[in-house]
């Protein structure tokens, strides 16, 4: 089971990184914002899988923090993008 | 093994009192901040004096093991002669600047809190806390935090006027200082990786001349000399120091750069292994010598009084690096003289330069400008200020009986005794050039006023603060030598 969970974590991370590469290229701000969000979600998934694989509960807290601040950060970014856009 | 010495609690007090005063002033604001700061700085001077007396009397460094946790896991505060002398200097300069600042940053009863005054009275005790942390810290990482405290305080003080022309040079200063800190931190990380501690006393004598140690030493030195504006990393300093308000310039040039200097001494003569010091010291001294010559020549050609004084700081900081190869020399007597000379140079420069910056500020207020060519009449309106400026200048030149004279004389002797006579040529040349630019100012100030020039009188108390600092830098030269023995306590 541990192996499987770690494999899934690596798979998620790998696909997220591949997607990241695509989206960081843009062309729009929206694409880049999505890139960050995708990375955040992928990171959370990978962390949860690793936490379960090794049985380290504290890692779940990292994922929790990422989920909370991820929501906050994406919204803050969109609001800032609006400020930039309104120039 | 560090043990808490009798009187070690004084070190805790020297650190916590100004920090607490800053926090209380921050909350209370307005007029209260001013009163808290003045009171705290006065007590701080008494504490610094007590520390110096205790070190002098016991002839051994003071130490305090925080929380009873022994290094390497815990941390210690230590005050050797160097720390005690610098702490005392800092306390004198800070109190003088605080009294001086009462003129410009006073909040009268019932008046609303203003931005500049609030920031000034909060950041004075903040600077005291930062200096105490930098001088007394016994742990390289703790000293990193102290460096950042110094940077933040210095930057805020420099921007006190909120003048548009100033933001660019202060931002450049901040970038330099931050990169300097990061490089220092990088070196500290390597040292921890190599030795498993960052306690200076534990590292002393344990370091090896291997790759991690050498690289760490190089990175930390580079970071610190960027903060001290040693040639060729000096160009941020003159505009940053000259653009600040007078009280801030005095603190920046007099004290803030000395924080990094003390760290550099700790790094080189306690932490780094002897072979590195032997080889690298000459390089540092060569850079210092270049700084002396170039800084003085450029100062000589400045049109603005404050920029001139700022370039003089670049040159005078150069002298501090001359002690590095002399200390590494085999001759113990000469090394001891070089140590005393170098530290004395730092102290006397702090006193003299802060007096000169404050004097330059008063002159600028009185005349409404600080163009060197039209200072005529200044000596008539404010003789005390001009005398103070001249006394500070004498100390920088190294004329007897000033503190600068004793410092430069000791360095000169040490350089001859160790057979490194070429440094003495630099010292003499620097003295002559310094004489040139000080003469330029004093002569211009003594000249009759240009027609149409209106010079306003300046408040007498402010003039007296300036004079007190200049006289203190003079008195340093007439102190009997045994009193200076303080500096030798715990020397490397």
């Amino acid at each position: 089971m541990t192996q499987l969970l770690l494999l899934a974590a690596a798979l998620v991370l790998l696909t997220v990184l591949a997607g990241l590469w695509r989206v960081l290229r843009g062309p729009q701000r929206a694409d880049r914002l999505m890139a960050a969000q995708l990375l955040c979600t992928g990171g959370i998934a990978a962390l949860l899988l690793v936490a379960a694989a090794y049985g380290i509960e504290a890692i779940v807290d990292v994922a929790l923090l990422l989920a909370l601040l991820g929501a906050f950060t994406s919204v803050a970014f969109v609001m800032a993008a609006r400020l930039v856009g309104s120039r | 093994m560090t043990a808490t010495t009798p009187g070690g609690w004084l070190l805790v007090l020297a650190l916590t009192l100004p920090a607490g005063a800053m926090l209380l002033g921050f909350v209370a604001g307005g007029r209260h901040a001013q009163r808290i700061a003045l009171g705290a700085l006065a007590i701080w001077l008494a504490i610094a004096l007590a520390v110096a007396l205790q070190v002098q009397a016991s002839g051994a460094p003071l130490a305090y093991v925080i929380g009873g946790w022994q290094p390497p896991l815990g941390m210690a505060l230590r005050a050797d002669g160097l720390a005690a002398a610098m702490l005392l200097t800092g306390a004198v300069v800070l109190l003088a600047v605080a009294l001086f600042g009462q003129g410009a940053y006073d909040t009268p009863r019932g008046a609303a809190e203003t931005r500049a005054a609030y920031a000034f009275w909060c950041f004075l005790p903040a600077l005291a806390a930062a200096l105490a942390a930098a001088f007394l810290g016994g742990d390289l990482f703790n000293l990193f935090v102290a460096l950042e405290m110094l940077t933040f305080t210095a930057l805020a003080l420099a921007c006190l006027d909120g003048k548009p022309s100033q933001f660019k040079s202060e931002l450049r200063y901040l970038l330099f200082a931050l990169i300097g800190s990061v490089l220092y931190l990088l070196g500290a990380g390597l040292l921890y990786g190599a030795y498993g501690t960052l306690d200076i006393a534990l590292l002393a004598g344990r370091t090896r001349a291997d790759a991690p140690t050498m690289v760490a030493g190089a990175l930390m030195t580079a970071g610190l000399i960027a903060k001290m504006a040693l040639f060729p990393l000096h160009f941020w300093l003159p505009p940053a120091h000259a653009g600040a308000p007078a009280a801030a310039s005095a603190l920046l040039s007099g004290l803030v750069v000395k924080g990094a200097f003390v760290l550099l001494l700790r790094l080189w003569f306690w932490v780094l292994p002897a072979p590195v010091v032997l080889g690298g010291g000459t390089v540092l001294a060569a850079l210092g010598a270049t700084a002396i010559v170039i800084g003085s020549v450029v100062a000589l050609r400045q049109e603005r009084l404050k920029l001139l004084v700022a370039y003089s700081t670049v040159a005078q900081m150069g002298y501090l690096f001359l002690m590095f190869p002399l200390l590494a020399a085999a001759d113990a007597d000469a090394a001891s003289r070089a140590w005393l000379g170098g530290v004395l140079q730092a102290v006397s420069h702090a006193l003299a330069k802060s007096a000169m910056f404050l004097a330059a500020g008063l002159i600028a207020v009185s005349l409404g400008h600080d163009r060197v060519t039209s200072l005529g009449g200044a000596a008539r309106v404010m003789p005390i200020t001009v005398i103070a400026f001249a006394l500070g200048g004498l100390s920088l030149m190294g004329l007897p009986p000033s503190g600068g004279f004793t410092a430069k004389w000791l360095l000169l002797r040490a350089s001859v005794e160790t057979g490194q006579w070429w440094w003495s040529l630099v010292i003499l040349t620097g003295g002559l050039l310094t004489g040139g630019y000080v003469y330029r100012i004093v002569a211009a100030a003594l000249a009759p006023p240009a027609p149409g020039c209106v010079a306003r009188a300046v408040p007498r108390p402010q003039e007296l603060c300036v004079l007190a600092l200049a006289v203190a830098s003079m008195l340093l030269g007439v102190l009997p030598l045994y009193a200076l023995g303080l500096v030798r306590v715990g020397a490397p």
């Binding site: - | 935090v145 006027d161 933001f167 040079s169």
Partner: protein, 114 residues
């Protein structure tokens, strides 16, 4: 070569990238971002040191970890300070770099000294 060594090299690479950015980029804002990358590299090096010091059943030496936590907070405060200065510089003068002014404006005007 162990995994920790690979991450150690990544830390060195991050330091190099950050240093290049700080020196070679013109805009202050990008310099600040690069400064943060440089800082991240330095902290990562502490992480490598901590990992190498794993002992007593701990996955990493707690002392460098505590230093990094302190360092991260200090670096954040420094970034905030640099940013506010950048913003004010821009608001007042319209400048986005710290390049030398043309010589005429280089000398600060001391006339308005308090």
């Amino acid at each position: 070569m162990s995994g920790t060594d690979i991450l150690a090299l990544a830390a060195c690479g991050l330091v190099a990238i950050g240093l290049y950015g700080v020196v070679a980029q013109a805009e202050v804002l990008r310099k600040i971002i690069a400064f943060n990358l440089l800082g991240a590299g330095v902290f990562l090096l502490f992480g490598v040191v901590a990992r190498r010091g794993a002992a007593a059943g701990l996955a990493a030496d707690p002392v460098p970890q505590a230093m990094v936590i302190t360092g991260l907070v200090v670096a954040f405060a420094a970034t905030a300070l640099a940013l506010v200065l950048t913003l004010r510089l821009h608001q007042i003068t319209g400048a986005a770099t710290v390049a030398e002014d043309p010589p005429s404006g280089a000398a600060p005007d001391p006339a308005s000294e308090p």
